[in-house]
């Protein structure tokens, strides 16, 4: 008796929701970035789990996971660069103080 796929899926859903909560609620921009990473990981878990359990003959799941890795790396690089330059100009990276884009 081994682990059913549903466990993985539920785990991924929980991880995703935790990340979503972080994205919506954290003040610090870097923390938001971390939460985004959590969500991406949840997605990867789902992909790999489905690959392993249902579609183990074609490799799509893993391939997409690799793509997600690449996207995540790029996103973090650019995001952190933006935060650092914002921090240089405005002295803060608190997400609700970066609100120039308003009336």
């Amino acid at each position: 008796m081994m682990v059913p796929i549903s466990w993985y899926l539920i785990f991924a859903a929980a991880l995703f929701s935790i990340g979503l909560f972080g994205v919506l609620s954290r003040k610090n921009a870097i923390a938001i970035l971390m939460s985004i990473e959590l969500m991406l990981n949840a997605v990867n878990i789902n992909l790999v789990a489905f690959w392993r359990y249902s579609y183990s003959l074609e490799i799509s799941g893993q391939a997409f996971a690799v793509m997600v890795f690449a996207v995540a790396a790029a996103e973090v690089a650019v995001g952190l660069a933006i935060f650092i330059s914002v921090y240089r100009r405005r002295g803060t990276i608190s997400a609700d103080e970066i609100d120039l884009l308003k009336w």
Binding site: V23, L24, S25, I32, A95, D96, D99, L101, K102
Partner: protein, 726 residues
């Protein structure tokens, strides 16, 4: 490529050249004159090609080369435009092609191509010369290039287009178009140096005067069209029924027949164009333009156009003439021509300006032609037209060359004298041999020097016709005019070239460049040999060496080929006597004129000479009769009363009313209703904005939260409606 299409193509190269120069190469002088001359060359080639082809056709006059296309729909019928090539066109286009090409080439030299830019030349003024320092370093003044060089070539290109169009057209309308184009170009080119007050006055004078003629001509065209329903030469002039019908129906105007009235109206146009009395006053002033313009427009081509037109419509003029008795209109033409001939000749003998003399001689010679037409000497008129075109162009170009040489001398000496005054010249034969010889040839041709020159044969034919048809008045008057012609021609030659130099400028005069002398030589050649094609067969000794090509070729243009008057000795003797006598008289009177001396004729003639000098006070007369009244009417009636009181008053009243209405609309409709609505919209938008903008906090997280809440809400709603609903 058939011959018709070639005829179609003849006018267009100069037009293309005009646009090319105006639009593209107007900054580059060399390119401009290259384009213009190439265009003239192409037209020349095509013309001679067609001429050669056409002269090989026998009986060309009765079945000319014609091609036409429908152009403007006039109600049920189409207005045809097209080209035709009959003997008259052939001879005309022959001299047009030659003179135009020659004058194009001449202009290059005349406008000092290749010389430096002037020190203080500016567009609108003749070049004043440029100072250059030679190898030894001391400066001297040399002619400077025309500032508006390219423009000149563009304009004469356009003019050439007009002339070719006029010549090849087969109907009065396109002929009139070419006619008016030439009028415009004449206007532009007389005032080419528009910064000169005299030039401006001359251009306006010429334009208005010719306009008088053109208005009548347009009337004539319209009348003709209303009568016959066509302007197509072949339909009218070569159609005996139409001619007879026109000739016999009375127009109800001074007893003119319809044909006569039409002929009169068209002839008035010709009078304006060809500067016949009483519309002659513009031509002498037109000499303000550059000399090539004087030579081409005001000697060779445009003024000849009047004669050409009159020759064209000769059948119309002659319509209704029974066995030799000329019609009423022909008598008028004869009178105008004869009078103009003697009248202009008398003025010419008292002028000192070398170009003015030629201008009046042009008027007088055109008078010869009209007189010949008036007495029915169709061929003689055409013949003299061609001859005159060549030797008058030659004379003008020669005078331009002389003026150029004089200017050269003036640049050298720095005197302040008029380079066109013949009394400042003298002894130029040594300085400018080529110009001298060619000018003498032209002058002899003009004077009708016996046997060799072209002018002799053409004039002799006119005399013969006048004598043969017993027009005594015309004969004697023309003989007198011929005498005067020879006299003033010799006077001109003597004053200009013979004797001793009367000024240092004349002493230092200088022969012109080859671009100016080459045309002189070519034209001189024609001025001699071209006359020989018109020697009557029964002329003693030399009569049958060359067939009377002019008579045979040109004569068949008419339906009824005019019978050749049989040869008699009186007109021959007369023409020889008048020419030789005039020449001799001129030489005797003017052979030794010291510098600063007054004209010897002045002492002899006394007050008459003064009248002649002042051209019979015609300018003053016209000034008193037309110009001043026109000014007065314009000032008092048109301006003060009509314009200021009535028109302006009406306008002011309308303005006041509209102001009142406008203020009413503004205060009672615009302000309360329209603006009120607009303001209301703006204000409410602003209010809504203040309400809604609080949503936009600029915080990404809030946006996302809002979006997700909305998404969740909608999803739940959809789920409820779609799934849980049933």
């Amino acid at each position: 490529m058939n011959i018709e299409s070639i005829i179609w193509l003849i006018p267009f190269p100069p037009l293309i050249a005009f646009f090319l120069i105006v639009l593209i190469t107007n900054r580059r002088k060399k390119a401009s004159h290259t384009i213009a001359i190439c265009a003239a060359l192409i037209s020349w080639l095509l013309s001679l090609l067609v001429y050669w082809f056409a002269s090989s056709i026998d009986n060309l006059g009765q079945n000319p080369i014609v091609s036409s296309i429908p152009w403007i729909p006039t109600g049920d019928s189409w207005l045809q435009i097209g080209v035709q090539f009959d003997p008259l066109t052939a001879v005309t286009i022959f001299f047009v092609a030659w003179t135009v090409l020659m004058i194009f080439i001449y202009s290059v030299g005349y406008h000092n191509f290749g010389h430096p830019k002037g020190d203080h030349d500016r567009p609108g003024l003749p070049p004043h010369g440029a100072t250059v320092s030679d190898v030894h370093g001391h400066k001297n003044l040399v002619p400077s290039i025309e500032p508006m060089y390219s423009r000149f070539f563009a304009f004469i290109g356009l003019f050439a287009f007009g002339m070719y169009l006029l010549v090849v057209s087969n109907n009065l309308l396109t002929l009139f178009i070419g006619w008016e184009i030439m009028g415009l170009c004449s206007y532009i080119l007389i005032g080419f140096w528009y910064a000169k007050l005299s030039a401006r006055a001359a251009m306006i004078k010429a334009f208005l005067t010719t306009r008088v003629g053109d208005v009548f001509m347009l009337l004539g065209i319209v009348y003709l069209y209303s009568k016959t329903g066509t302007l197509y030469f072949r339909d009218i002039l070569y159609n005996p029924e139409v001619l007879h019908e026109l000739g016999t129906t009375a127009s109800g105007f001074l007893g003119f027949s319809v044909a006569g009235l039409i002929g009169l109206l068209l002839f008035i146009g010709a009078v304006g164009k060809s500067a016949q009395w009483p519309l002659h006053v513009w031509l002498p002033d037109a000499m303000e333009g550059p000399t090539p313009v004087s030579a081409m427009i005001h000697a060779a081509t445009m003024v000849s156009a009047g004669v050409y037109l009159t020759l064209r419509i000769f059948p119309l003029l002659a319509a209704g003439m029974e066995h030799g008795h000329p019609t009423q209109i022909m008598n008028i033409i004869a009178f105008i021509g004869t009078f103009t001939a003697i009248f202009a000749a008398t003025i010419a003998i008292a002028q000192n300006d070398i170009k003015r003399v030629l201008a009046y001689s042009t008027i007088s010679q055109l008078g010869f032609m009209f007189a010949a037409i008036g007495i029915g000497a169709y061929i003689a008129a055409a013949f003299h037209l061609v001859m005159h075109a060549f030797f008058k162009a030659l004379l003008f170009l020669g005078s331009g060359s002389v003026i150029h040489g004089m200017e050269h001398g003036i640049y050298h000496t720095g005197e302040h004298i008029d380079p066109q005054d013949m009394f400042n010249m003298g002894g130029l034969r040594k300085r400018m041999p080529v110009t001298f010889i060619t000018f003498v040839i032209g002058g002899l041709a003009l004077a009708g020097f016996p046997l060799i020159t072209a002018g002799f044969w053409s004039k002799d034919e006119i005399f013969a016709d006048a004598f043969g048809h017993n027009h005594w008045v015309v004969f004697i008057t023309l003989a007198l005019a011929a005498l005067l012609t020879a006299y003033y021609t010799m006077r001109q030659i003597t004053l200009t070239f013979l004797g001793e130099s009367r000024t240092d400028a004349a002493e230092h005069a200088h022969e012109s460049v080859w671009t100016m002398t080459l045309p002189l030589i070519i034209l001189a050649f024609f001025a001699i040999v071209l006359g020989w094609v018109g020697i009557p067969e029964d002329f003693p000794f030399i009569g049958n060496i060359i067939p009377n090509y002019a008579h045979d070729f040109v004569g068949e243009t008419l339906l009824a080929e005019p019978e050749t008057v049989n040869f008699e000795f009186h007109p021959l003797i007369t023409s020889i006597i008048v020419s030789l006598g005039g020449l001799g008289l001129g030489w005797i009177v003017y052979r030794k004129i010291k510098s600063g001396a007054v004209d010897p004729a002045k002492k002899a003639l006394g007050p008459i000479f003064v009248i002649l000098e002042n051209k019979y006070y015609f300018d003053e007369l016209y000034d008193f009769l037309f110009v001043k009244p026109a000014y007065r009417v314009a000032e008092n009636f048109s301006y003060k009363w009509m314009d200021r009181k009535i028109i302006d008053g009406a306008i002011h009243w309308v303005a006041q009313m509209s102001i009142v209405i406008g203020s009413f609309l503004r205060n009672f409709i615009d302000k309360p209703i329209v603006n009120g609505f607009g303001d209301w919209v703006g204000e409410s938008t602003k209010k809504l904005g203040t309400v809604f903008r609080s949503i936009q906090t600029g915080r990404v997280q809030q946006y996302m939260l809002l979006a997700l809440v909305t998404l969740a809400g909608f999803t739940a709603l959809l789920y409820y409606l779609l799934v849980a609903g049933h």
